[in-house]
């Protein structure tokens, strides 16, 4: 398991050697510092903490500054933890760059999806809504039945209804790395990635790589 933090820049398309159009998301990822190494002996599990985006010291509070200063690291805006099989491969202060991935690799990309606000069942869960004609009124985007009658006499917990949509942590699995540009710290993955432009994303090696046909 290896991973890196980045910011989504937007989507475009590239052509492969045979001229086929590939839709890609451009992500500016890294360089990330390893800020802490967690070992089974000391912390009970194996993980690394990585930091992204150097910022001004006055943007961080003193505990965070101290945590970073301990290892002579610059003030970093974002700190995230990644589980790894063997954390001994890493050491604090090490730089992680996009070069850890190469074209053809499969990655999982995690981000915060775009917030949609309060949405009805049609948009939020893909409900079909009601009939548009045959004397219907006020049924067009209605959710339909939300449960049985006297028994159980209540709406079951978890029933899909209208509510806040988006702005949640979403992971898209098995995206193919199309191109890596270490010069500009860019990585191009095939397909869409959660979140808006400039949104923070975490790129990790795919946990469940699909078999190539």
């Amino acid at each position: 398991m290896k991973g890196i933090l980045g910011r989504k820049l937007g989507m475009t398309r590239v052509f492969d050697e045979s001229g086929v159009v590939i839709p890609v998301t451009v992500i500016q990822a890294g360089p990330c510092y390893v800020t802490q190494v967690k070992r089974t002996e000391t912390d009970g599990y194996e993980a690394i903490q990585i930091g992204f985006e150097v910022t001004k010291p006055n943007k961080l509070n003193k505990p965070l500054l101290g945590h970073l200063k301990k290892h002579d690291l610059p003030p970093l805006r974002v700190l995230r933890e990644i589980r790894v099989e063997d954390a001994s491969e890493y050491e604090v202060g090490q730089l992680l760059t996009v070069e850890m991935f190469k074209p053809g690799d499969l990655v999982d990309v995690t981000g915060t999806s775009k917030g949609r606000g309060f949405q009805g069942g049609v948009k939020r869960y893909g409900f079909g809504g009601g009939p548009r004609t045959h004397g219907q009124s006020d049924r067009l985007r209605a959710p339909g039945s939300i449960g049985a009658g006297t028994f159980p006499g209540r709406v079951l917990p978890g029933t899909r209804m209208a509510g806040r949509m988006g702005n949640k942590r979403v992971t898209v699995q098995n995206l193919e790395v199309v191109r890596v540009d270490p010069e500009n710290n860019l990585i191009l993955v095939k397909g869409a990635v959660p979140g808006h432009k400039k949104g923070l994303v975490l790129i990790r090696q795919a946990v469940r790589p699909k078999k190539r046909g």
Binding site: R7, L9, G10, T12, R13, F15, G19, V21, V26, D181
Partner: protein
């Protein structure tokens, strides 16, 4: 800054060897197509009824009347490496950006007035 980098990514696949196509142009497009394991160049001639997109996404739709008066439209990505060549046969005088109205017309009504380069004023 982020937009600059995005443009830079596109820059690598942009092509500048093809002529600038305008809506209403009669063009002949030479497009490489893969047939099984053989590759050949297929010409497609018709009227440009739409040019859309920017940067590497720019594309045009070419409409031609095939045999038996059946309209055929093909959309080409203008920066595709499969585009062999574009020949602009003539320009037309057009008053809108998309010529979708040509779809409802046939024969004489589907004509466009030719525009000559010399007449081009502003």
């Amino acid at each position: 800054m982020s937009d600059v980098l995005l443009r830079a990514v596109e820059q690598s696949s942009l092509r500048d060897d093809l002529p600038e196509v305008q809506v209403g142009d009669i063009v002949r497009v030479y497009f490489r197509i893969v047939e099984g394991n053989r590759e050949r160049v297929q010409p497609f001639q018709g009227t440009v009824i739409r040019v859309s997109g920017g940067g590497v996404n720019r594309s045009m739709t070419v409409r031609r009347i095939a045999s038996h008066g059946i309209g055929v439209e093909r959309t080409f990505p203008l920066h595709s490496p499969r585009l062999e060549k574009i020949e602009i046969l003539r320009h037309s005088k057009v008053r809108r950006a998309k010529l979708y109205y040509l779809r409802e017309r046939r024969g004489k009504k589907a004509r466009l007035k030719q525009r000559y380069e010399t007449k081009k004023s502003s």
